[in-house]
Each structure stands twice: as structure tokens, then as C-alpha cells.
């Protein structure tokens, strides 16, 4: 590392030499425990599962992993079930993030002007997000229950036999594919719209007033101001929200969907995380193949989180 840069951070006093030394040892002392624990619990397992993904191995069979080359990847890539679960995840992300952006933007615009009690309201609307997703899933399983759940009741359906059975994808006894996915998306929207709204709200707060002053002097219409000032100025934060929610759809959606449907009915809500879980921890414990699957998901996640962290850093600086 460049010695000139380092000496720039030192206090300009006589005993520079000794202090710089102790600083450096302190630095290692402070940083290394964290790095070591991360390497042991993140890097090592990932390397190990990369190895496993090239082997035929099951965690419940007492047989050492057997090298099979790319067979697992081939099987995973050409299995329809995999693409189906990716497509379900994609639909899930698209539907929930889309709704959250639109509703969140609306809510942020409403919250923009402070009013009496807006502080407490912003706290209240964040409650859903701080709850355990699996418990939230159970909550909503009860809400969606066709005979004694409150959801249909509040929507005005009085006769259970004529009402939608959301989590079973049935409407009045007839199968209605996609209903369960919508039900899950709705809960996701319930949980996360306030978060998106708050991100956008903090973006709105940061827009400098002089932009609007200039627009008023130029007699720009409200719509023009919205399109040319508000929207571009909050776009970075909207991007952060989209990336964050996409990552969460791969990670946290597992908890939520396990609590609600467990992937059912008939795999209609089986997002990738649930599929990996079923392959790796249920039935035959296909550790090797599920590692290969997990690795493909990992590549997607790393790409998205790379974008996310870069934008986060920008937001931090700006």
C-alpha cells in the first residue's frame, strides 16, 4: 500500500513512528477477527459447496462424494422444474416489486408534507416489515382461510362455497391457477410497501428546493416538475429499492412462503429457495445436485447484490 497515503492520516506530531506502528497493529487486531469469522463461515462453505456441486453426494448416505463433472449442472439446466421455479420467482418479483413501487411512491408523496401525527404513522406502517416473515405467513394463512378467515369476510364474501380459496388457487370450487401466487404477492406488498415508501420519501426530502424554484420561475407545470425533477431525483433510491426487494425475493421469500403455502398448491408458489430446500433437506437429500442448483442462484444473487451495493455506496456519498 502507498506509504504517502497512509502518512496523510497520521497526526502531525513528533512520535509519528511509534504511533503509526501501534495503529497498524490495532488495525489488524480490530479487523482480523471479523474477517476470519467471515472467511470460515462464508468463503469456506461456498468453496465446499462448489466442490459438492460437481459430485454425486447425499448427506444422509454414508458414502464419500463421487466426482461426476458437469452432470449435476446439466441435469439442473435441462430440468423443466428448475426453469419453472425461476419463472415463478421472476413473476413473484415482478408483481410484488411493481406494486410496491407504485403504491410506495404514492404513499411517499402523501407523507411528503408533514402533518400532526405523521411521525407516529411512519412508525406504524413499518411494523409489518419488522415481523418474522414465517410468522407473518402463518398470520395470513389464517386470514386467507375460506371458512373462518377475515380476508374474504372483509372483501364481502359471505358464503365460503362461493368465495375464493386463495392459498388453494380455487375460486368457488373451480381451480383458478395463479391465485395462490397473487395471495403471496399481496402479503409481500403488505410487508414491504412501507419500506419502499420510506426510501422514496427520504429521496424526496433530499431534493433541493432551488430546483423547484427555478421551475416555478420558468412556469413549468406540476406534471413537468414531477417528470423532470421529482422522478429523476428519486430514481437512484427507487433503483436501490428494486434491487433490495429482488434480493429479498430470493432470500426472505423462503420464510414467508413456507409459512403460508410451503410451495403449494402443486408447486404453484415454489420459488427457487423452496425448491433448493426441498431438494437438499427433504426426501433423498440430494446434496450434490442441490448445490449445483444453489450455485446458479448464487450467481444471480451476486450480480444483483453487486449492483445494489454500488448504488448503496453512491447513496451514502450523495
Amino acid at each position: 500500500m502507498d506509504p504517502v497515503v497512509e502518512s496523510g492520516t497520521e497526526p502531525p506530531i513528533q512520535e509519528k513512528q511509534t504511533r503509526s506502528l501501534s495503529d497498524r497493529s490495532l488495525l489488524s487486531l480490530f479487523i482480523w477477527p471479523t474477517l476470519i469469522i467471515l472467511i470460515v463461515f462464508n468463503v469456506f462453505p461456498l468453496a465446499y459447496s462448489l466442490f459438492l456441486s460437481f459430485t454425486d453426494y447425499s448427506a444422509v448416505v454414508f458414502k464419500p462424494p463421487e466426482w461426476v463433472g458437469f452432470e449435476n449442472f446439466e441435469r439442473v439446466l435441462f430440468s423443466e422444474a428448475l426453469w419453472e421455479s425461476f419463472s415463478i420467482t421472476g413473476r413473484y418479483v415482478f408483481m410484488s416489486v411493481g406494486l410496491e413501487l407504485v403504491l410506495g411512491f404514492g404513499l411517499a408523496l402523501l407523507l411528503r408534507e408533514q402533518f400532526t401525527g405523521s411521525g407516529i404513522i411512519t412508525t406504524i406502517i413499518l411494523i409489518p416489515m419488522m415481523l418474522s416473515p414465517v410468522v407473518v405467513g402463518l398470520f395470513w394463512k389464517l386470514m386467507y382461510n375460506p371458512t373462518f378467515g377475515y380476508f374474504n369476510y372483509l372483501l364481502g364474501f359471505s358464503d365460503p362455497s362461493q368465495a375464493p380459496d386463495w392459498l388453494a388457487s380455487r375460486f368457488a370450487g373451480e381451480p383458478m391457477p395463479g391465485l395462490a401466487l397473487w395471495a403471496v404477492v399481496l402479503v409481500d406488498v403488505w410487508m414491504w410497501t412501507p419500506f419502499v415508501a420510506l426510501l422514496i420519501y427520504s429521496g424526496l426530502k433530499a431534493i433541493p428546493d432551488y430546483l423547484y424554484e427555478a421551475a416555478v420561475i420558468d412556469r413549468a407545470s406540476s406534471w413537468f416538475q414531477f417528470r423532470r425533477i421529482t422522478l429523476p431525483q428519486v430514481a437512484p433510491l427507487m433503483l436501490i429499492a428494486v434491487l433490495f426487494r429482488t434480493i429479498e425475493a430470493f432470500t426472505k421469500s423462503f420464510d414467508l412462503i413456507m409459512g403460508m403455502t410451503g410451495g403449494g398448491p402443486g408447486g404453484q408458489t415454489e420459488v427457487v429457495a423452496i425448491r433448493i430446500y426441498q431438494q437438499a433437506f427433504l426426501g433423498q437429500f440430494q446434496t450434490g445436485r442441490s448445490s449445483a442448483f444453489a450455485y446458479m442462484v448464487l450467481i444471480v444473487i451476486i450480480a444483483i447484490s453487486n449492483l445494489y451495493i454500488r448504488n448503496l455506496n453512491k447513496a451514502k456519498e450523495g
Binding site: 406502517i125 416473515p133 423547484y212 437438499a280
Partner: protein, 331 residues
């Protein structure tokens, strides 16, 4: 701009500065906005309200069609917290004779013809949650504090990359990491142990604590420590006596965010524990399986599980957004 040049000023601009914000009739608009926001907040709370109601319903009331008024009982809580057995007719009669000497729990159980054998599994799950959450939080905040200070105050080679590496750990789906961790834990004997769970949660919280605490420490002027060091403090003394007290709020907020994360975590707990170290979330989720769904017990369990989080949310509302965006965005 161009439109101004073409048309010229027709009349003096009299509106407020920000047209899209301060319209005429702004006062009325403000009220309408407030009302809409309040309605949204109420809608968001409906499921929480329903869950609370269900927790106080009796077993028979739960499965009846929805209604707003019912006779509240503590059945859900009693079922949740105790292990019971069906009483024979004689024991039931005997119990009814002695009802005056009984505690509230026993009375409730008796009214549904059951006697209490002892505390239920749920108490153990809750204790596990508390032990693991506190252990992991203390470890990750301590380690995170040191690392955050180093990142904030020293020139760390490759700082950006290291911070990226630390945060990216948080982005990994639990299922993906859990497969190798599961095998590793089985080898090391850490599967289904407190230590194993505390370690994995510490790792997953470190990204949050490092990023969040770095943000808080960045806000403390370096000059404080530099002045202290000129006065003869060592770097560590300056950290301990100057920076630490100044970061107290930040540390408190970080602690609570990691607590909430561990408290709510489900995927790792499901895959890395079975009987001994299992925490409350997977236990609540599997309560479904035991001989008929006892919704009131489940609702009571979720309620008992939510209340600590709710209290914390209200105590911490100023830092909420910061915590969930890893400290990058301030409110």
C-alpha cells in the same frame, strides 16, 4: 426555459415556491392526505388486529365464521404454554370441587376438561430464542464495533472491496449457505447446538453491525480523538474513552436491529437445528402439525413472540430506516 422565451411573462408569479407541493387550497389537501395516510395505516394493521383477536378466542370460536364480538378467553395462551392431558370424569369432578384453590391457568384448562401436566415445549423454544439472540447479538456488535472503528478511522487497504465482501455475506440466501454449513456442523458436532446457532447468526449479523456502526462512527469528528491523543492518550484509550461513549446511541440501535434479525430468523433455525437448540419461529410454524390446528394457540404464540419486537420498534423509530438499509440512508 424555452417556453419562457416564447411566451414571456404574462403575470407576476404569485404561487408558493414549490408548485407541486404548495397549491392553493393546500390546507384542505393536507387534511385529505393525512386522512388517506391514516386509512392506509389502519388497513396495514388489520392482520395484526385479527391475530390479536384470535389469540383471545376459544377453540370453538376460532373456527366459526368471522365476527367482531366474542367472549374472550385465555385458552390460547394456556394451550400454548402448558402440556395437558384429557381428564377422566372423576378427576374432572374432583377438579371442579377444588376450583377455588386453582390458578388461572388450571381453571382455564379445566373448563375444557383438561388437566395441566407441566410447561410446554414452547417455553423451551422461547428460552432458546432468547439465549441465541442475545449471544449472537453481543458477539456481532462487539466484533462489528472494532471493525467499524478500524474502517472508519484507518486507511484500510482495499477498504471498498472488504466492505463489499462483508455486506455480500448478508445477501446470500440462507438455503444456499445452509447446505455446506449443515455438513460442516455435523462434522464439528455443532449441529443443533447453541454455539453453532450463535456463530452462524453472528456471521450474518456482522455485515449489518459493521456497516451501521461505521456510519455512526463516521459522524464523530476525528478531531476529538486527535486532541485526546495529543494530550497523551493512546489510540485505544481514545477509542475507549472518547468514541465509545459518543457512539452509545448508535450501538444501542445496532444491538436492537441485530436482536430483531436473529429473533425473526427462520431458515437457518429450520435447517440447522432439530430438538435441542430449535428457536421459536420454526416451532410456531410446526405447531400446525399436532393433531388438529389449534389456531388460538398459534395466534397466542405469534402474539407473545411479536410483543418484544413491537416495543423495540417504537423505542427505535428514529433509526428504523437506517437499520434496514445497512446504515446507508438516513431519515
Amino acid at each position: 426555459m424555452s417556453s419562457f422565451a416564447e411566451t414571456g411573462p404574462r403575470e407576476p408569479v404569485t404561487e408558493g415556491i414549490r408548485v407541486d407541493k404548495v397549491q392553493p387550497r393546500a390546507q384542505l389537501g393536507k387534511k385529505i392526505r393525512a386522512i388517506i395516510v391514516i386509512i392506509v395505516a389502519i388497513i396495514l394493521l388489520v392482520p395484526v388486529f385479527v391475530m390479536t383477536m384470535t389469540a383471545f378466542k376459544s377453540r370453538t370460536d376460532v373456527v366459526l365464521p368471522p365476527k367482531l364480538f366474542f367472549e374472550p378467553t385465555l385458552e390460547g395462551f394456556v394451550f400454548l404454554l402448558t402440556d395437558r392431558a384429557q381428564l377422566s370424569d372423576e378427576a374432572l369432578a374432583e377438579g371442579k370441587a377444588n376450583i377455588d384453590q386453582m390458578g388461572i391457568f388450571e381453571r382455564v384448562a379445566l373448563s375444557s376438561g383438561q388437566g395441566i401436566n407441566g410447561p410446554s415445549d414452547f417455553i423451551k423454544r422461547l428460552t432458546n430464542s432468547i439465549i441465541i439472540a442475545f449471544g449472537a447479538t453481543i458477539a456481532s456488535v462487539t466484533l462489528g464495533l472494532f471493525a467499524a472503528y478500524a474502517f472508519s478511522r484507518f486507511e484500510v487497504p482495499g477498504e471498498g472491496d472488504l466492505l463489499f465482501f462483508i455486506l455480500s455475506g448478508r445477501m446470500l440466501p440462507a438455503v444456499v449457505v445452509a447446505i455446506p454449513i449443515f455438513l460442516m456442523y455435523r462434522q464439528l458436532g455443532l449441529h443443533d447446538t447453541y454455539l453453532g446457532m450463535i456463530l452462524i447468526y453472528t456471521v450474518f449479523n456482522l455485515s449489518l453491525t459493521v456497516w451501521l456502526l461505521k456510519g455512526f462512527i463516521d459522524e464523530i469528528p476525528r478531531e476529538y480523538e486527535e486532541a485526546a491523543m495529543v494530550d497523551g492518550y493512546s489510540r485505544f484509550q481514545a477509542f475507549y474513552k472518547i468514541v465509545l461513549p459518543q457512539t452509545a446511541t448508535g450501538i444501542a440501535a445496532t444491538t436492537v436491529f441485530s436482536l430483531i434479525f436473529v429473533w425473526n430468523e427462520y431458515a437457518f433455525a429450520l435447517m440447522l437445528t432439530s430438538q435441542n437448540a430449535r428457536t421459536a419461529p420454526p416451532a410456531i410454524a410446526t405447531m400446525l402439525g399436532r393433531g388438529g390446528i389449534e389456531w388460538s394457540a398459534i395466534a397466542a404464540g405469534t402474539l407473545a413472540f411479536l410483543i418484544p419486537v413491537l416495543i423495540v420498534i417504537f423505542a427505535l423509530r428514529k433509526h428504523l430506516l437506517r437499520g434496514v438499509t445497512f446504515g446507508a440512508i438516513r431519515q
